[in-house]
């Protein structure tokens, strides 16, 4: 009776929401049921994402790229809100579901019991991310950003403890400020354009009156600032490493995608609104994206090299990866962007894996465990106490080797060394940059290479410190099967991506081409349908 395929695109948003809210109706102690529910939800989302991905990879029936559009409430765009699944958003949704799934599996080992309502918050975070990726409406984007952020506040503070709360205050303050900037930007754009639909705004950009142009640009600039805060661009991203490294590992892992949502939006809007058809606005802000991206890479690299613990390094890794994509976007070349998109996937997966690994490797050395536990002394029980399975898992014989291998793969990915996906990304970016061949491109290529080296040096130091510098009689690493599965899955995805890099690159090439010509998107969104 219901044409499920027609509603497929909203699945990644509504499904986690329904499951999460249904979980709220359940008693907190029914953990197995909740775990099963959220796992199956994530699996379902993954499947939906893959179906969408498959569809967009193969293009429309008649050939050529198009986007799947879903008109909420049957109202036609630009009046109602639309969801748009095009190459870019589908790719990001698929990435989110892979990442989310792995983080969730990791959490099942013990983190989901470190505080109430973990699963609900987690699924709502996924909902927020997917919504932000899929929506085609500026204000709706704000709403989903807020869902994503609200859930991320919850997850960042999940498990409480001094470091988390301390970092959380700054994280929330910064993001609330960003949200206000977001609102100012969106409303200013509405004030000049009279519309909120991205595609509709795009159609009006070229014909905007001279009087309004300045206001529109201010709006776009402020809006961009808000997104760039989320991307953790220098000098607005100092909150990221402390927050992510303080957060519980699965939360940090899934947070790796949050900054990428910011990056996604910047890519989306800058190419949609300021593309070749934008008249006087063409190329607006690209220079600043480039400069900011470079600064972010540089700062992230310094930070990574200077890091003394792994999760912090992973946080800086996230910054580097954001900066790389932003700077590549700033170059304004489709081939570079294609490489950057590929790199984005790989680096996100790698940073997430690094967060997970960091937690395993730092386990037992955590100095703030005592402090964190002190917080729990009240009438509620210690979250880890009431479980029969207190420890995260079993001592797996080859744990050190497995972890070492995993760490090695992460390092290769983050540093962009061969043979994994990180390398392919950097390779395609650099070769595209060499093709562009202007001073900016050379600079970026150089910075990318140096940053690779920096990442390698920093991570090697940390890895040698964490894995090799252990006493012979030190207790073996304790790893839960779920944790190992999660890490293996993430790294497996990296390997998979490397093996099928050819197809993936073709996908990103087409994506970059699709983004470079926003007419396809605009036609898909505004072309007919709805009340």
């Amino acid at each position: 009776m219901i044409d499920w395929n027609a509603h497929l695109i909203i699945g990644p948003i509504v499904l986690p929401m329904i499951i999460a809210s249904a979980m709220l109706l359940l008693d907190e102690r029914r953990r197995t049921l909740k775990a099963a529910l959220s796992l199956s939800a994530m699996a379902a989302i993954l499947i939906m994402a893959l179906v969408l991905l498959h569809e967009s990879a193969n293009g429309a029936v008649g050939g050529g790229d198009t986007a799947r559009v879903y008109r909420l409430g049957s109202w036609a765009a630009p009046y109602g809100i639309v969801l748009v699944a095009d190459r870019l958003s589908t790719m990001m949704v698929a990435l989110t579901s892979v990442l989310g799934g792995c983080a969730l599996i990791f959490a099942l080992a013990r983190w989901d019991r470190a505080g109430p309502r973990f699963h609900a918050l987690f699924l709502l975070l996924i909902m927020g991310v997917n919504g932000a990726l899929l929506t085609g409406d500026l204000f709706n984007l704000f709403v989903f950003f807020e869902i994503m952020l609200a859930a991320s506040y919850g997850l960042a503070l999940h498990g409480s403890g001094e470091a988390r709360v301390r970092a959380g205050v700054i994280y929330i303050a910064v993001n609330l400020t960003a949200s206000l900037l977001f609102l100012i930007g969106v409303s200013l754009i509405y004030g000049v354009m009279g519309t909120l639909n991205m595609a509709d705004v795009a159609t009006r950009v070229a014909t905007i009156s001279v009087d309004d142009l300045g206001l529109f640009h201010i709006g776009a600039a402020v809006l961009g600032t808000a997104f760039l805060i989320k991307c953790a661009m220098w000098p607005m991203g100092f909150w990221l490493p402390p927050t992510y490294s303080a957060a519980s590992a699965p939360a940090a892992a899934v947070f790796a995608i949050l900054s990428k949502v910011g990056v996604y939006v910047v890519i989306r809007l800058s190419l949609l609104l300021f593309g070749a058809d934008a008249g006087a606005s063409t190329g607006f802000g690209l220079t600043w994206l480039f400069v900011g991206g470079l600064a972010t890479i540089a700062f992230g690299t310094f930070g990574l090299v200077a890091s003394r613990d792994l999760s912090r390094a992973a946080g800086f890794g996230v910054m580097i990866s954001s900066g790389t994509v932003l700077a590549s976007l700033g170059v304004g070349d489709a081939a570079t962007l294609s490489g950057a998109l590929f790199y984005l996937i790989g680096s996100t997966l790698a940073c997430a894996a690094l967060f997970l690994l960091a937690e395993i490797l730092q386990r037992g050395r955590e100095s703030d465990v005592g402090e964190a536990r002190a917080v729990f002394d009240d009438e509620y029980r210690d979250p880890f106490d009431d479980e029969e399975r207190n420890e995260p898992g079993l001592v797996i014989p080859a744990a050190v080797a497995a972890l070492g291998g995993a760490f090695l793969i992460c390092t290769l990915m983050v540093a962009g060394l061969p043979p994994l996906a990180g390398f392919v990304g950097k390779l395609s970016m650099i070769s595209a940059l060499v093709g562009v061949g202007d001073a900016a491109a050379w600079t970026l290529a150089a910075v990318l290479s140096v940053s690779s080296l920096g990442a390698l040096i920093g991570l090697t130091r940390l890895g040698v410190g964490a894995i090799w510098t252990r006493d012979e009689d030190a207790p073996a690493f304790v790893v839960g099967a779920a944790e190992l599965t999660a890490v293996a899955a993430l790294l497996g995805a990296c390997v998979f991506l490397a093996i099928f890099a050819g197809s993936a690159l073709i996908y990103t090439d087409h994506t970059a081409a699709w983004l470079a010509d926003p007419q396809g998107y605009i036609h898909a969104v505004l072309g007919g349908g709805g009340r």
Binding site: P116, G154, L157, T177, G214, F284, I457, V464, L505
Partner: protein, 972 residues
């Protein structure tokens, strides 16, 4: 199956072996060795099977697509040169495996060692078999990686960790440079395919990118081949197990750089810059390595520096740029691999048997292990370039080239002399190696009596030494064909004339060779004692110019510098972060405004009384806001009240400016926020104005405040200007027209704002309530772990005073004051409860047509609950009403979601609304809209989330006494 499939076999087999070996149990030393041995031999067999093809200089290719869009595919390409290198890798690999089986201790996880070794072998194979530049880089970096793992194999040893990190850092740096260089070459040529590149000498050499590409490529090659000034990692890498040194640091990895130079020799060599850089580095390395080798006390250290020196020799040959020199280079590469591997193995045997590698402790070992000693002597002689051994032949070729090129270039005048000097050094250290170890009195400082090693451990050395001899005596028969095939694949078919023979007649090179031999012996006789006595094991006058030391300083500087940069460019505290954000936003807006111009066209104000009233209203609002900003530090309550004032002003503006819905909602939220802030104020410390900061801090903070004030004023001015600009602009024909026109017709509501919220843009509302729910959950989670600060643990002073005064009166009992005070408020607040419910129901039901709606109704309802809490306390309320806010949150979300999904049943997208006028008996015509159901979800959720937030906070006071009891209990 095509024969080129064998290429895949010899590439993949080592990796497969590595995977299998890594899965073997920890103590499976022998099986891992056998596995590795079989892998190496089978690969070697395959290679041998392919040999017939290459006698004629053919090329074999096998292509697997990988990244077609980048022109990067897996191309396996075998020609004479790569065949030779591949044979070297596999052959010496097989010998090393055999040797390692006996060398490695059973206590080590040996299978892992073999796994790494095989993986390294595979990576090396990948380098030499690459037919694609990028693929070459991939395997190149893999060799760095596996060498890192192999060097750091004994990671309990700090030297091993440091050495491996250094090797990885240096070689990976080279690898990254190489990658960029390859990309440049690919850019010049238009393809990454090796065959295409090799055919494009002209294009490459004339390209403006030639020099950068060359430098980057050389960076890769020179770091790998430990050329000065990147040589320092190699001696540090001696912390590796000896089989690793024998394999990586003599025969294979360091030769990867050489291989690269030879591979690209046809297209890159011949230019001035090539000559200067490659030749210069080679020469410097040759001399420096030899010089340093002389002074080493560690056997492996000596071998490492001698390796550096010999690699320098090969590089120098390649740098000379003449085809003959190139052939000599290839030849010496092979020779060096054989004698150096055997020497390393011998050193390992000595280490294993004597327990030390320090030449000062070793002495007269010949009597304990004559066989090994003989082997070592032959190998050392080959290294020294003694006739009848292979080293002699290639050294002769080198000297000949040095002499021959002395006329070609001005700078080459010294070359013969320097070459001879280096050869003399080489003789000197070879002699020292042998003499100090095997001759002289029996050793005194050993903790064990040395023996001959197990026979099978010696076998590999024997094979290699035999090779040295055979090649040395019958070069043309043994190595000739292979060398020729390799040379052909580099130089093409018109090879220059060269003769592989022991005796070329009495000529200049021979004289130089003899001078070098005699000089070396002579030097040892004169200086040997002093060298052995030199305590530091480094050359004289050699302290600061030590690459390793510099490298470590650089690394420390890098870490320290990065920390400094992070401190300088970053911020950990909140204030600078927010300041940066605000400034960036200002700057971004400002730049945009400058770029496109901000046009403001003021309109004349109309001065009516009502407008003055509006202005007055905002005079109040603005002064409240400013006062709140001013009071928020010390008078928090005042700030809360003042905020309320500013809030009220904005509510009234909404009334004024035709937004009744906004006014109602903002008012309700205002009330709840006030209660919320007050609940929070309970847990914040009292701040007193009297606390003064130190003078210096005061000054700094005053300056900061001044800056902040300027920033704040700038933000205010910009926002005011922008908003004024927009407000005075004519309205834009936008989407709103549609909403006005269709709200009633198609969505059945008169209140357009509400229709937008529950229908046109219901998805926003859907998201918004989700935010509310999430926040509720988060607050709940946080407060479960809430621990109040010590100074807020006790009851507020008011309560303690009042309770105390109650206790002091005999007629009163504790809590009477509270009861009496709240007597009247309780009555009012309880009886108003049903009326607020009434109001909420009205707001909800008529929201579609009149101001109100689900959110307003929900907040009103929750205020009703909160009033009860305030009046009677949390316990009283919760004993009577089952408050399950989380359940409500869940229920609200489920209702909202299901009402959205409902439209799927009718084949419409999510949240498609439906409305109808129903004629009911008695009641008449009643509008029914499905959006009401959605709004119901909103109400339920809002009540749940708001009540949860407030109540969870309120509950903290209830928990507090319990905690204090516990603490008192612990104290007593």
């Amino acid at each position: 199956m095509s024969i080129s499939f064998l290429l895949v076999v010899i590439l993949v087999l080592p990796f497969l072996g590595a995977i299998v070996a890594s899965g073997l149990p920890r103590d499976a030393r022998t099986s891992a060795a056998i596995l590795s041995w079989v892998v190496a031999l089978v690969s070697l067999g395959c290679l041998a099977a392919l040999w017939p093809m290459f006698q004629d200089g053919e090329t074999l290719r096998y292509e697997i697509p990988w990244l077609p869009s980048l022109g990067v595919n897996l191309v396996l390409r075998l020609d004479g040169l790569s065949w030779l290198f591949s044979a070297l890798i596999l052959g010496i690999g097989a010998l090393v495996v055999l040797y390692a089986r006996y060398y490695m201790s059973p206590k080590d996880p040996v299978p892992r060692f073999f796994s790494f070794l095989l993986a390294f072998m595979g990576a090396m194979q990948g380098v030499v078999l690459s037919g694609n530049l990028i693929q070459l880089v991939v395997f190149w970096e893999l060799t760095s990686l596996f060498s890192f793992l192999l060097i750091g194999y004994w990671h309990q040893n700090p030297a091993a960790r440091e050495g491996s990190r250094m090797a990885l850092t240096v070689t990976a740096m080279g690898g990254i440079a190489l990658l960029v260089g390859m990309i440049l070459i690919g850019r010049i040529v238009g393809s990454y395919d090796l065959d295409v590149v090799l055919a494009s000498r002209e294009a490459i050499q004339t390209s403006p990118l030639y020099l950068p590409a060359l430098i980057l490529l050389l960076l890769g090659a020179m770091t790998k081949s430990a050329q000065f000034p990147f040589h320092f990692w190699l001696p540090r890498a001696m912390a590796a197990p000896t089989p690793v040194s024998a394999y990586l640091h003599s025969a294979t990895m360091v030769k990867a750089g050489i291989f690269l130079l030879i591979r690209f020799w046809p297209v890159l060599a011949g230019s001035e810059s090539w000559y200067l850089i490659v030749g210069g580095m080679g020469l410097a390395t040759l001399l420096l390595g030899a010089w340093c080798a002389i002074f080493q006390h560690d056997l492996k250290g000596l071998l490492a520096y001698s390796t550096i020196s010999h690699l320098g020799l090969i590089v120098l040959l390649l740098g000379l740029g003449s085809p003959l020199a190139c052939i000599a280079a290839i030849f010496h590469t092979v020779n060096h691999a054989t004698f150096k591997a055997s020497l390393f193995m011998a050193a390992g045997i000595i280490d294993r048997e004597a327990g030390t590698r320090d030449m000062r402790k070793l002495s007269g070992l010949f009597r304990f292990m004559p066989f090994t000693a003989t082997l070592a002597m032959v190998a050392a002689a080959a290294m020294a370039g003694v006739p009848l051994l292979n080293g002699f032949l290639s050294k002769e070729m080198f000297l000949a080239e040095a002499v021959a090129s002395a006329h070609t270039h001005g700078l080459n005048m010294l070359l013969p002399a320097l070459a001879t000097l280096a050869s003399a050094f080489s003789v000197l250290y070879s002699l020292r190696f042998i003499h100090a170890t095997f001759f002289g009195p029996p050793p005194t400082e050993l903790d064990r009596i040395p023996h001959e090693p197990p026979a099978w451990m010696r076998r590999p050395v024997e094979v290699l030494v035999a090779l040295c001899l055979v090649v040395g005596i019958f070069p043309a028969v043994t190595v000739g064909p292979f060398l020729k095939s390799a040379a052909v694949s580099v130089l093409g078919f018109d090879l220059p004339y060269y003769s592989l023979a022991l005796w070329h007649g009495f000529n200049v090179p021979l004289v130089l060779s003899l001078i070098a031999l005699a000089g070396g012996v002579g030097l040892y006789v004169v200086f040997g004692k002093r060298i052995n006595a030199n305590p530091r094991g480094g050359p004289w006058g050699w302290k600061r110019l030590n690459g390793g030391w510099l490298f470590e300083r650089t690394m420390t500087g890098l870490f320290k510098g990065s920390e400094a940069m992070v401190r300088l460019l970053g911020a950990t505290r909140q204030q600078p972060q927010l300041r940066a954000i605000v400034l960036v936003a200002l700057l971004a807006g400002g730049l945009a405004a400058i770029g496109a111009g901000l046009v403001i066209r003021p309109i004349m104000p109309t001065l009516t009384l009502s407008n003055w009233a509006f202005a007055g209203l905002w005079l109040v609002g603005a002064s409240c806001a400013v006062a709140a900003a001013w009071q928020a530090k010390y008078h928090r309550l005042a700030a809360v009240v003042l905020m309320g004032g500013a809030g009220l002003a904005s509510c009234l503006s909404f009334v004024w400016l035709s937004a009744p819905d906004l006014a109602v909602t903002q008012l309700l939220v205002e009330v709840v926020t006030t209660v919320l802030l007050l609940l929070g104020l309970r847990w914040l410390p009292k701040r007193l104005e009297t606390i003064r900061l130190p003078q210096a801090m005061e000054k700094r903070s005053r300056r900061r405040r001044r800056i902040d004030l300027i920033i704040a004023a700038a933000v205010g001015a910009s926002l005011a200007a922008i908003s004024y600009a927009v407000m005075t602009r004519p309205s834009i024909e936008g989407i709103s027209r549609f909403f006005v026109e269709h709200a009633y017709k198609d969505a059945g509501g008169r209140n357009i704002v509400n229709v937008i919220l529950v229908d046109f843009r219901a998805f926003d509302t859907f998201g918004e309530i989700t935010v509310l729910g999430i926040v509720g959950l988060t607050i709940f989670a946080l407060l479960r772990r809430f621990r109040p600060a010590d100074d807020t643990l006790s009851n507020p002073s008011q309560q303690s005073v009042q309770d105390a005064s109650d206790r002091d009166h005999e007629t009163r009992s504790e809590g009477d004051t509270l009861k009496e005070t709240m007597l009247i408020p309780r009555v009012v607040m309880r009886w108003i409860f049903p009326f607020i419910i009434l109001l909420a129901v009205h707001l909800f039901l008529r929201g579609h047509d009149l101001p109100g709606g689900g959110f307003a109704a929900g907040v009103a309802l929750s205020i009703a609950f909160i009033l009860q809490y305030m009046a009677s306390g949390a316990r009283w309320v919760e004993e009577r009403l089952a408050i399950r806010p989380i359940f409500w949150i869940g229920a609200g979300l489920v209702i909202a979601a299901l009402s959205g999904i409902g439209s799927w049943l009718f084949g419409y997208p999510f949240l498609t609304s439906w409305f109808q006028y129903a004629d009911l008996p008695i009641l008449g015509r009643v509008p029914l809209a499905s959006a009401v159901l959605f709004d119901l979800g909103v109400v339920v959720l809002v009540v749940g989330a708001t009540v949860l937030t407030l109540v969870a906070l309120a509950h903290q006071s209830l928990r507090k006494p319990k905690q204090r009891d516990n603490e008192e209990g612990e104290l007593s």
